[in-house]
Structure formats: C-alpha cells, structure tokens
Symmetry: C2
Subunit: 131 residues, 2 copies
DNA sequence: AGTAGATATAAACATTCATTTATATGTTGA
DNA sequence: TCAACATATAAATGAATGTTTATATCTACT
C-alpha cells in the first residue's frame, strides 16, 4: 500500500474570533468564544433530567415549590437545590406570595431547545439502531 | 397582616407521562421522562465550551484531529478526549482516511440549538443587567 | 524492520455535581 | 408567643468531569 495522504488544509473561514470584531459591532450570527461559553453554561443547566422536568413544568405556568415536589415526586431539598441552580443560570424567575414561592420559566425559547434536543436524540439513536 | 393564602392548585395538564401512552403510540410533541433523559444527555455534551468550539468547527465540514488541535489551540489528548465524548453522544461521525481520522457533525440541528442558547443567554444577561 | 507522524488511551488530580439527611429560616394563623 | 407549614441551607458522600502528563497504538513511507 503506497498511497499518498496530503495534509488536511486549513480553510480559515469558520467563525470570526472575538478579536476580529470591534467592541459594539453587531453581527446576525456571531458566535465568539464568549458566546459559546455562555451557551455552554446554559446547556449545563439543561444537562439534568430532573431539571428538565422542572423546566417543562414551570414552562406551563408558575408553580410553587410544593406543587413541583408533589408533581415530580422528588424530595423538597432536591427540588430546592435544582431551582437554585436554575435561578443561578437565570432560566427561571422567582416570585414570593405569602408563604409560597413561585417559580416561572424565564424564556420560552428554552422549551423549543429541549424539544429539539429530544428529537435529535431520538433520531440519532434510531439511525444508530438501524444501521 | 391577615391575608388568606389558598393552596396552589394542581391542574394536571402539563405533559403526558409515559404511563399514559400505550407502547407504539405516536404524538407530535410528547416529552416523556425518557425523552427528557435523552435530551439531558445531549445537553451534557453541549455543556462544555471547548466541545462547543469543536462542534462548530466540524459543523462546517469534516476535520482531522490535528486540524482541530491547531485551530483551537488545545492539546491533542484534550481534543481526543472531547471527541470521544461527542462520539459517545452520537453528535459526531467518524471516518478514517489513512493516518488521519476525520470528525464531522452528525446532525446540523445542533448548530441551531447552540445559536439559540447563545441568544437566550445574551438576552437573559441583558435583561438582568438592565433592570 | 524501523522510523516518524497521527491519534488514542491511561493514570493522576482537583473540581464539580446530584442526592440524602438533618436543620434552619421565614410566614401565617391561633 | 406558639404551632404549623413552606422553603432554604448545610453537611456529608459518592460519582462524574475537565485537564495534564506520559505512554501506547496504528498507519505510511523508506
């Protein structure tokens, strides 16, 4: 076997790096490393099944902690812990009302993201299973 | 202060649980716990900034490991490790060609997810900063 | 066969994270 | 003030994760 294997090229046209854009510049679809870092941070919040269940729930309308606990059958401290994480990533808004504290989804686009991820995951698995 | 605080209701119409659907049933937008679990698994793969950088890169066309290493300025074992994780979650496809191994994005919808996450993160931060 | 290059794997480490158990804080009504 | 309820916090623990350093595997050319 005496084949030639040329070194893969370097077409330098993927994503503009932060340094290429002056401060305040606006691009429709720039994805600097900072943007990716923030996206990764949000993704980390979405990387737990229980948190996704909570997000879906509060995405349908604000819910008290106890309502979430009962609906999802999780322990109260566990739900509180996850809500804290979701608040830290700004994915939920909080509202106190008497003794109850209501949590609500902060941005509806997250539901679309979850649905897309679910579909993609299903498709990837079906392809893999079919081959 | 002598207000009344009614117990929050339980409107039972959020998401159908897996048990509510016979096996093989098809719904346009069902999100069972299994689906959420798989979505969470994908999200975990997206939860690292370096992995997102790799995904964006191979989303533009297949790339060899060394090309990724040079472009992103990461160590070779680190890139290999992340590629392994991305392969495990089926987000990339692999192709050997001589001594080179090429990785390619398996599903373009992931790019949309990343872009949406980036936008949402930016918006959430701006809202929080503005208030 | 041997050498060089491309990529993967292993070991080690510090950090983060999900969960449980136990306790504290805060609010309301008696 | 006290009791009951809603929620948060703390401590503890085991498991997973990102990164580095070192080494192994695989392929191609001489």
């Amino acid at each position: 076997m005496t084949e030639k294997h040329p070194i893969p090229g370097d077409p330098e046209h993927i994503v503009k790096s932060s340094a290429d854009l002056a401060d305040g510049d606006q691009m429709q679809d720039q994805l600097t490393d900072d943007h990716l870092q923030r996206a990764a941070f949000l993704a980390k919040s979405l990387s737990d099944g229980n948190r996704l269940r909570i997000l879906l729930l509060v995405g349908d309308g604000r819910k008290s902690v106890s309502a979430i606990v009962e609906k999802l059958e999780l322990s109260q401290p566990l739900v509180s812990h996850h809500l804290r994480e979701l608040k830290r990533s700004l994915l939920v808004k909080v509202e106190r009302e008497g003794p109850f504290i209501y949590y609500e989804l902060a941005d509806a686009r997250i539901l679309g993201v979850v649905r897309t991820l679910s579909k993609v995951a299903t498709d990837l698995l079906s392809v893999r299973t079919t081959f």
